[in-house]
């Protein structure tokens, strides 16, 4: 997730995808956890390059949500 925090844009894309799912999505780093559907939260959390982030989804479509977000991070942010 090396550049999620660099720009509002990648964070915005993350939140857009996350918001398509019903599952609750949480993104965590160290001791901080934010709502994956909150662009302000995601930007705050993912501000540093190379930070290790943990993604958690809970709900009916949790698996699909994780898949989609993983694919996004891999394709969009690891070019």
């Amino acid at each position: 997730m090396n550049e999620l925090g660099l720009h509002a844009r990648p964070a915005a894309e993350f939140v857009k995808v996350a918001s398509r799912f019903q599952a609750e999505i949480a993104l965590g780093r160290d001791e901080m956890v934010v709502n994956g559907k909150s662009v302000l939260g995601v930007m705050t959390l993912a501000a540093e390059c190379g930070a290790e982030l943990v993604l958690r989804a809970e709900g009916k479509d949790a698996e699909a949500a994780i898949g989609a977000l993983e694919a996004l991070v891999r394709n969009r942010f690891h070019e």
Partner: protein, 602 residues
């Protein structure tokens, strides 16, 4: 800035004189009164909050749409981020909690929550996150202003019948997209220089602009009449009647001259003795395409591609580039468009790819060197050009060439890309004309060999002057030493023109030099028949060329080349041109600032 009461002086970045009412746009977050509401009004405050969000949303949608139409889909994404911030459910839930739990007014609760967010971001070790505070501020301002019943102060609302002179601390994306000649007569900012994005945009749109007017905002109130002179950088507040009439008379003269120039747009640039000169436009931003077409550009002599990268977190995709190149080509059907490969380097990189700072960026890892060291980046650009060439006459132009090998390596990459595209069965051209920019002393010395290896030559006069004279053109202290009519540069220009002729390769000049009347006269005399300059310079150049005589220019150029001092060169040219035009009559006309190329090499 020097200030003597009513008269302020900053940096003139876009020429033209206007008189109009000032409109001061402040970015100060409004004072929010500490208001507590009655228990039974709490839900009413929640409803007000929702109404404010909906209103601002509509507003941002409008700006987004406008940005997309006027500048491009990429720039419009700035507003996507703001819309997401505005509608952040987590954030709004927090605001609503504050309203319900503490009986705060909607604006008080919103401000409280925003302060919390700003404090969190301000403490962040990430510079980039701290930079995004500007988006948060934009959203916060709009919501608070709405809730407080104030106008959304970030926007240009014309109050009277006259277009306004906008005063701002700094230009913002939200304002950039509203640049519109019907609403804005001129623009003044406390920050910024000739090289800022906004200055370039103002210049290309023909909106007079003064920047670097530090401390101007507290001195001017909205509605105050001002005279703005974008050439001299002078701003007069509350002008006296004689200042207004003097300005108006000067403006009438200027307009009459401009009309004379504009009338010539449809006519070809042909000298009195029948020599045809092709006039092309230099284009930095998509927004300038229209300006180039309107001012009679017969194609694009220099299409810069750095804007595709600036402010991005990743390189633009091949498809995005191909779409842009196709669009540019379609605007000039049947006419050439020279696409300069990425002039990346220094801070002109998407954040994550940015190399460590260099001691001498002008002598550093930039331009073609970056492209050849990073074929993954270069390949996408070459493929995009080949694809666009299926429908338009786009060509590839290589900047900062110092070695013959660089041209050969590029040709190999082009051949590979071509083979790949054919294998993939994608529509693409089967060949690509390749041009070499002659803008280093090394390239001048090797010009015969380079000419043999490529299809056309293009003199980058700004860099050639800078590298030959060892003068940084961005350095204000050296400004008088940066002169393309230096005897060394003049002789190089002659060498290049002759090499082009010998090899039978078209040779053009694409620096701002071509827009200086005396230099244009020299270039004509040296045999250059293709000149490319910023779009707004083209009408004056056409007007000039139609008054000149190529034989007379050749004689003057021959004398100028003999000169060993700048003064001797200048005198030879001035003497020669005096037969055709009175240079003094052009003083203070729409001559461009002449420093535009620094926009991307700061």
């Amino acid at each position: 800035m020097s200030a003597s009461g009513r008269i302020l002086t900053g940096i003139g970045v876009s020429p033209g004189v206007v008189i109009g009412p000032a409109l001061v746009l402040e970015w100060n977050i409004p004072d929010v009164p500490n208001r507590v509401v009655a228990r039974d009004q709490v839900e009413g405050e929640v409803a007000r909050l929702h109404a404010a969000v909906a209103e601002v949303r509509g507003h941002l949608d409008g700006l987004r749409h406008r940005a997309e139409r006027r500048i491009g889909a990429e720039e419009a994404k700035i507003f996507d981020a703001q819309i997401l911030m505005l509608e952040d459910q987590e954030f709004l839930a927090g605001v609503i909690r504050l309203i319900r739990d503490n009986q705060l007014s909607a604006e008080r609760a919103f401000e409280f929550k925003a302060l919390e967010m700003r404090a969190l971001w301000a403490r962040s070790t990430s510079v980039r996150l701290r930079e995004r505070v500007v988006d948060l501020t934009a959203v916060q301002l709009r919501v608070l202003n709405y809730l407080l019943g104030k106008p959304m102060a970030l926007d240009v609302a014309r109050e009277g019948p006259d277009p306004v002179v906008v005063f701002m601390r700094e230009l913002t994306p939200g304002l950039t997209v509203q640049f519109d000649r019907d609403t804005i007569a001129g623009f003044v900012s406390e920050e910024g220089t000739r090289t800022s994005h906004a200055a370039i945009l103002a210049h290309s749109l023909g909106i007079p602009c003064v920047m670097g007017l530090v401390g101007a905002l507290p001195r001017v109130r909205s509605g105050t009449r001002v005279i703005l002179d974008g050439s001299t950088g002078r701003v007069i507040l509350d002008p006296r009647p004689e200042e207004i009439s003097g300005t108006q008379a000067g403006e009438r003269r200027r307009q009459a001259f401009e009309h004379e120039i504009e009338r010539g747009i449809a006519q070809p640039a042909v000298t009195r003795d029948g020599v045809r000169v092709e006039l092309l436009g230099n284009v930095d931003l998509p927004e300038e395409l229209e300006a180039a077409a309107i001012h009679g550009a017969e194609g694009v002599g220099l299409l810069r591609t750095e804007f595709l990268v600036l402010g991005r977190s990743e390189m633009p995709s091949e498809d995005e580039q191909a779409a842009y190149f196709t669009r540019v080509g379609a605007r000039f059907p049947g006419r050439p468009v020279m696409i300069r490969s990425y002039d990346l380097g220094g801070d002109k990189f998407p954040g994550p790819l940015r190399p460590p700072p260099e001691a001498n960026p002008f002598l550093g890892w930039r331009a073609l060197r970056v492209c050849l060291d990073r074929p993954d980046i270069f390949r996408g650009q070459i493929r995009a050009i080949l694809r666009a060439r299926a429908t338009a006459d786009v060509r590839l132009l290589l900047p900062l060439v110092t070695q013959l090998e660089e041209v050969r390596q590029t040709k190999e990459l082009v051949a590979e890309a071509l083979a790949d595209l054919i294998r993939e069965g994608r529509p693409a051209a089967r060949e690509l004309p390749l041009g070499v920019m002659i803008e280093t002393p090394a390239a001048v010395v090797l010009v015969d060999a380079l000419a043999a290896e490529c299809d056309f030559l293009s003199v980058g006069s700004n860099d050639l002057t800078q590298y030959t004279l060892v003068v940084d053109r961005g350095n204000a202290r050296l400004a008088s030493r940066f002169n393309a009519i230096h005897p060394a540069v003049v002789r190089m220009l002659q060498t290049i023109a002759e090499a082009g002729r010998r090899a039978g390769k078209p040779t053009s000049v694409c620096g701002e030099m071509a827009s200086d009347p005396l230099a244009a006269f020299l270039l004509l005399g040296l045999g250059y028949r293709v000149l490319s300059a910023s779009p707004t310079s083209l009408p004056l150049m056409r007007w000039l060329i139609r008054r000149l005589d190529a034989t007379g220019a050749a004689a003057a150029a021959a004398a100028a080349v003999q000169g060993t001092t700048e003064r001797a060169v200048r005198e030879a040219l001035e003497q020669g041109i005096a037969t055709y035009v009175d240079l003094r009559s052009l003083e203070g006309e729409r001559l461009p600032p002449g420093l535009r190329e620094t926009s991307f090499t700061a």
